[in-house]
């Protein structure tokens, strides 16, 4: 059928040559473009430095990249020595002062930057000889001085301080420290203490041992001629003394025995950083390297991937959610699935991340998903050809990762050969749902409670607590500093006083409240009737009753159309304490309510009263200044699923001597719905009918 339609379209196009294009048909791709992969020029110096040259004369500029492909080293109680060495490199040479060096590089409009195992320079090609000379001189004959050392140390300590509250910096530090252990090169981190342990002699030793040419690669790209490069590189790098770096082994880190949450309290966080991680062993030269990468792509490699479709497009929990599968020729690396979400949905985000990981392990992916993933890989391969640096990067990978020489020439072929089974195998091999760490950095006072109630494989996920430096700690306690005499009763009294006085409130026999707003193009109306021991709430959509909740005596049920659906007895028990003309009357009578502190609501401090329950947990917020209720947050947990609801109350207005909020802003799924007070009737006539 589809085919037939297509032929007709083509026929029509042929007849009416100048007719407009048919917009309803997605344009098909033309013939695949031709791909040319050239090899860069290559030569090697006697000291072991390997040089790759890509000539590209489109623009009069050149870039020079020096990379030392050395095995990782742990810095131990001197962590930070590598960062400091990197900062001290590029400050001139034994014969050029720092100021002269910087002045000259700037004057040429060029750039030279150093890392502790790398250097990079770029300039207009007319300055290539001089920039190469300056870079080589600074690399081989570094100018380490005590003065610069002291200064860089002070700067590094200040920088470390500046990260103390940075949620994402804290999160990534703890993720790595827990995954690899703090004694592993990938898990250790610099602190003020370790940086203070570093001496000038450490820098010199570190440089001497590691900044050597055996594993060094120099990549020159741009408007240069190979003969010129050969001559200049030899001239400038021949003095670099041949030596190999030390090779040290580290014990392999292990995954946790069972899946667990590792929580780090960051009180200033307005979002939680959530990462599910496990260790993997994957190298570029592994047979299943490409299928492993494709698998990760389908899970969370890009915005079209499952994680972002679920957590962003479907649930609107977050701006992004991704996963990353590392590869490392030296040993352990990690798989991470991560997101940043607003505090209140932290637990739900964990559930969704785990669900997606489990799903890709358990169920075969669809052919369509695989096709899209392959297209993306093919596309990004083609798109990368635009950059001259790609050819150099490919050549460098072939050398450093021990890949077959035709790795990139057969790349597209191998991508296209990946099957659904290959993907499932890779998911099973590289993603560990049963031995995963879920590292969460967030605001403990907001999220801890819900984190302790996440069911997983038939029990709650255990939660372990860590400080910002990955040290195990006790579960944090949130000390409540409240003014003397403030307690549940006083907050509720102040509330009653604020809305019209206890005497006036006590006189009310019944109450009807109607709020109206719109959502998804329909009008939404809620009508609430309350007496001292009965409660009914009906929601209307476009004036048709959609759903009702009724509570009276020991009954609690939902009404949909003509049907009554009883709700579980635990819920009925939980709801009991909120029955009354005002829920506060029920709260005052129950002994379950607790004043748990203060929290900002819309920028103003509010007292927080929590009413715990087995299925319904409610938290009420009362403005410290006015006494008025400003927010209600409810968490309903049923069948292992939690649902959060929030309602904010605004702009109180008086009706018959009692103040009611004229605006309610509530969450309905990911949406916020604002409703306005339409009607408030005190001592309205109610009959038994109303509660059936």
């Amino acid at each position: 059928m589809k085919k037939l339609y297509f032929t007709i379209t083509i026929a029509l196009m042929a007849i009416t040559l100048n007719a407009q294009v048919d917009r309803s048909v997605t344009p098909q791709p033309g013939p695949a473009p031709e791909i040319n992969l050239n090899d860069p020029e290559r030569f090697e110096l006697p000291n072991g430095l390997k040089v790759l040259v890509v000539e590209n004369h489109k623009l009069p500029r050149v870039s020079i990249q020096l990379t030392l492909d050395n095995p990782p080293v742990a810095e131990g109680d001197k962590a930070g020595v590598s960062i400091l060495t990197g900062s001290l490199l590029g400050n001139g040479s034994k014969t050029i002062s720092k100021d002269d060096f910087n002045e000259e590089v700037d004057f040429l409009g060029a750039r030279i930057n150093f890392g502790f195992q790398s250097a990079f320079a770029s300039s207009l090609s007319k300055y290539f000889p001089r920039i190469l000379e300056l870079m080589a001189d600074a690399a081989i004959n570094p100018n380490f001085t005590q003065e610069e050392f002291d200064k860089e140390k002070a700067k590094l300590i200040t920088a470390l301080k500046s990260e103390e509250k940075d949620v994402s910096a804290i999160a990534s530090r703890v993720q790595n420290a827990l995954a690899y252990g703090v004694n592993h090169p990938n898990g250790e981190f610099a602190t003020e203490e370790t940086v203070n342990n570093v001496t000038m002699a450490d820098i010199e030793r570190f440089y001497r041992e590691l900044f050597v040419p055996t594993n060094a690669y120099l990549v020159v790209i741009g408007d240069v001629k190979i003969d010129e490069v050969k001559e200049l590189v030899s001239k400038n790098f021949d003095d670099w003394v041949k030596a190999s770096p030390p090779s040290l082994g580290y014990s392999d880190p292990l995954d946790v025995q069972y899946t667990q949450i590792n929580f780090v309290d960051v009180p200033n966080a307005v979002q939680s950083e959530v990462t599910v991680e496990n260790l993997v062993n994957l190298k570029m030269k592994d047979e299943d390297y490409l299928s492993a990468k494709i698998t990760n792509f389908i899970l969370g490699g890009a915005s079209v991937s499952r994680l972002e479709q679920n957590l962003r497009e479907d649930k609107a929990f977050t701006y992004y959610s991704r996963s990353r599968l590392g590869d490392n020729k030296y040993g352990a690396t990690t798989f991470k699935a991560f997101t940043s979400v607003r505090n209140i949905v932290t637990d739900s985000a964990i559930v969704e991340l785990l669900r997606e990981i489990d799903k890709i392990i358990t169920d075969p992916i669809s052919e369509e998903e695989l096709e899209i993933a392959k297209s993306v890989y093919v596309g990004s391969f083609v798109l990368a050809l635009e950059k001259p640096s790609t050819i150099a990067r490919y050549a460098l990978n072939i050398e450093t990762e021990g890949l077959p020489a035709d790795f990139y020439k057969t790349y597209l072929e191998r991508i296209n050969a990946i099957t659904v089974e290959d993907v499932q195998k890779a998911a099973q091999k590289y993603f560990q749902i049963k031995n995963a760490r879920i590292v969460v950095a967030g605001k403990g006072s907001d999220v801890i409670e819900s984190l302790e109630k996440i069911p997983f494989n038939g029990r709650m996920l255990p939660v372990n607590y860590y400080d910002k430096y990955a040290k195990a700690v006790e579960k944090p306690k949130y000390d409540i500093v409240l003014p003397e005499g403030v307690n549940v009763q006083s907050v509720l009294d102040a509330y009653f006083e604020a809305i019209g006085g206890k005497t006036a409130v006590d006189k009310i026999q019944s109450l009807k409240l109607v709020y109206e707003g719109s959502a998804m193009g329909s009008s939404i109306k809620t009508e609430e009737k309350r007496t001292a021991d009965k409660y009914v709430q009906t929601t209307f959509m476009n004036d048709a009753p959609m759903m009702g909740v009724i509570a009276k005596g020991d009954e609690l049920f939902m009404k949909q159309g003509g049907n009554k659906v009883p709700l579980p007895p635990e819920m009925q028990q939980d709801m009991k304490s909120t029955i009354g003309i005002f829920p506060e009357q029920g709260i005052a009578l129950s002994n379950k309510a607790k004043l748990t502190g203060t929290e900002d609501v819309d920028g103003k401090a509010a007292y927080k009263i929590e009413v715990p329950g087995s299925t319904v947990k409610a938290t009420y917020f009362y403005d410290v200044e006015s006494g008025l209720k400003v927010k209600e947050a409810t968490v309903i947990t049923m069948n292992g699923q939690s649902q959060n609801q929030e309602v904010n109350y605004k702009d109180y207005q008086e009706v018959d001597g009692i103040k009611f909020p004229s605006v309610r802003v509530g969450s309905m799924g990911p949406q916020m719905i604002e409703t306005k007070l339409l009607e408030a009737v005190i001592n309205v006539e109610v009959s038994e009918e109303d509660f059936n």
Partner: protein, 440 residues
Amino acid sequence: MKRYFYMSLLAFIAFVAVTAQEVEYEEYDLDNGLHVILHQDNTAPVITTAVMYHVGGKDRTEGRTGFAHFFEHLLFEGTENIETGSWREIVSSRGGIFNANTSQDRTYYYVILPSNNLQLGLWMESERMLHPIIDQKGVDTQQEVVKEEKRLRVDNSPYGQLLTVLGKSLFKVHPYKDPNIGYMEDLDAATLEDVIAYNKKYYVPNNAVLIVAGDIDITETKKMVSDYFADIPRGEDVVRNYPKETPITAEEEVTTYDPNIQIPLGGIAYRIPGFRDRDAYVLNMISTYLSDGKSSKLYKKIVDEQKQGLQVGAINLDQEDYGMYLVYALPVGETSLDVLVSEMEEEISKVRSELISENDYQKLQNKFENNFVSSNSSIEGITNSLARNYLLYGDTELINKEIDIYRSITREEIQAVANKYLNTNQRVILNYLPKENIDN
């Protein structure tokens, strides 16, 4: 040795003309007012299609801030022929990548594809311009996504509120006073009717430019552009008449707190002319003079020699109607912000009172030449420059001529411009401080 080197170098520069390759392009208008620019480069089998709309954060009414950015999200939802939610999938399934970004002045959408998918790129952009689907569901979802983006990029991010504070401090009546991403309550308040009206007003061919660049055939591309874009109806002319600011004539001081930082930031901010003004180019040169590179005045003094600053910078946050010019530093150790401000002012005052040296002037020229060559180094960069130069600067040819403007700026002009805009009575002192003692 050293001296000899410099002298020969200067001579060398004087005689060698810049050899930056000319960027060739062709431009024309469709009848509906859409401006089209084509740039052919067949080096790699890749094309970029991009549309820049002349609508940004400043184009809004009071109480509806952040609309342009919100719209950027909405316009990825779907069109009459592109099923809602399938935008990403379609581009990805052809191996392409896409993105968009919104400033206070313009919104930019682009897609990069293997070159056998040119028609697809044009189809998608024309669909977005002709008949995007804007419904309540999309509005609801994207409202939440944008709010999360704000939490991530602004509220939870160190120094994330800096731009917001600058806007608020330098503008009283012009829409630049409000953040580009908008206020939460305004985002919540957006109704479907607002959104549809906004689309009709700004997302019209006569308020946009289309760029097609890369591995294309010019004749074929022109035909395709006409096929997909010619029938899009022209919209009303967009009229902008935003209130003018009265000049700042007395120093102001603003203090703000950020819970996500540990190290304060001290800043001196000025309101300067919009980016089309020649003076804005001169101010770019002053930024480079003050803080670009390790031998720049502020870096060398504050970070390197006196060790008072962890970081220092002078930036022209350029915008269409007015720019925001910020000179800032982060202190090391116990250095107070007052000290940093007076150290920064000392260097700024030198630019006002003395001519910069010949050597520094030549250094500036070399830096701008290098930047100019680098800015045309990728098709993506060229595409963006072509769009911006036409739509916002009103001169496409700037892509090849911008360097001439910098070349024509003299040392005297640098001094004059500093005296015109960077005086102490025209500045806002910014104390951007860590917020301590949060609850629990």
